[in-house]
């Protein structure tokens, strides 16, 4: 009897916590439905990360995708990367650094009113290409840019 009462109480508390989190805006229904792609972010190899995030590791090189990044980055902890694309129906723009422990740095999901343009700052362990993959109309397109890193930004 005592044990049963305990379980009930715990169940009630757990449900309460979730409700609280939702009302506080911590768990939006959207976030619950489309979860953070854990598998892709935890992949340690570029093809695995790309496959887990986008469903394929074979994007097509496209002149309609452009990666703007410095030729030489003195500090690998802060490398400014801009991806622009003139492709229509862009769904997402993802940025990969193949030499990082976790190659997937960031992925941006665009709406129908958002331009094919995103700037962000990423970390780079050492000299490498920065690869941008654009998903447009269900297909994958990519471009890359070499960045020479003089001081790595992922170590300790």
């Amino acid at each position: 009897m005592q044990a049963k009462r305990r379980t009930l109480l715990q169940a009630g508390m757990a449900a309460g916590t979730v409700a609280l989190a939702v009302s506080a805006g911590l768990l939006t229904p959207r976030a619950v439905m489309a979860a953070w792609p854990k598998q892709a972010f935890e992949a340690r190899k570029l093809p695995l990360a790309m496959e887990a995030l986008l469903g394929s590791d074979q994007p097509v090189n496209s002149p309609e995708v452009k990666v703007k990044a410095p030729d030489i980055a003195e500090n690998g902890a802060v490398v400014s990367v801009t991806v622009t694309t003139t492709l229509p129906d862009v769904e997402s723009i993802s940025v990969f650094v193949p030499v990082n422990a976790f190659p997937l740095a960031a992925s941006y999901e665009l709406s129908d009113v958002t331009d094919g343009f995103v700037t962000g700052r990423i970390k780079m362990a050492k000299t490498s290409d920065v690869i941008a993959v654009v998903k447009a109309g269900g297909k994958l397109y990519s471009a890359k840019k070499g960045v020479k890193v003089t001081l790595g930004g992922c170590g300790g």
Partner: protein, 105 residues
Amino acid sequence: MKNKMKIRAWMDKGKTTVKAIIFHPMETGMRKDKKTGKKIPAHFITEVNCEHNGKTVLRCLWGPGVSKNPFISFRFSGAKAGDTLKISWVDNKGNSGSKEAKISA
């Protein structure tokens, strides 16, 4: 931790340009504390949602490879001066923050 954020949004040739910085340590989980030699636990933003009038215009999925105090810039159409842009984020420890900004002319 202070949940600080800076947002600037303005109209330019009929489109809205947004620039924002979220102040966050973005720990990778691989750095070591120099004094204790222990690894500093991973602590990074996983998701950022940028909304205009309740509609998401950009959703960012981030890993630990994004720099400390992340900066983001993007552009979208359909807004006018005076509209509100809302940016909210969640990190891997369940912390969150959000801020609203008026789009200037």
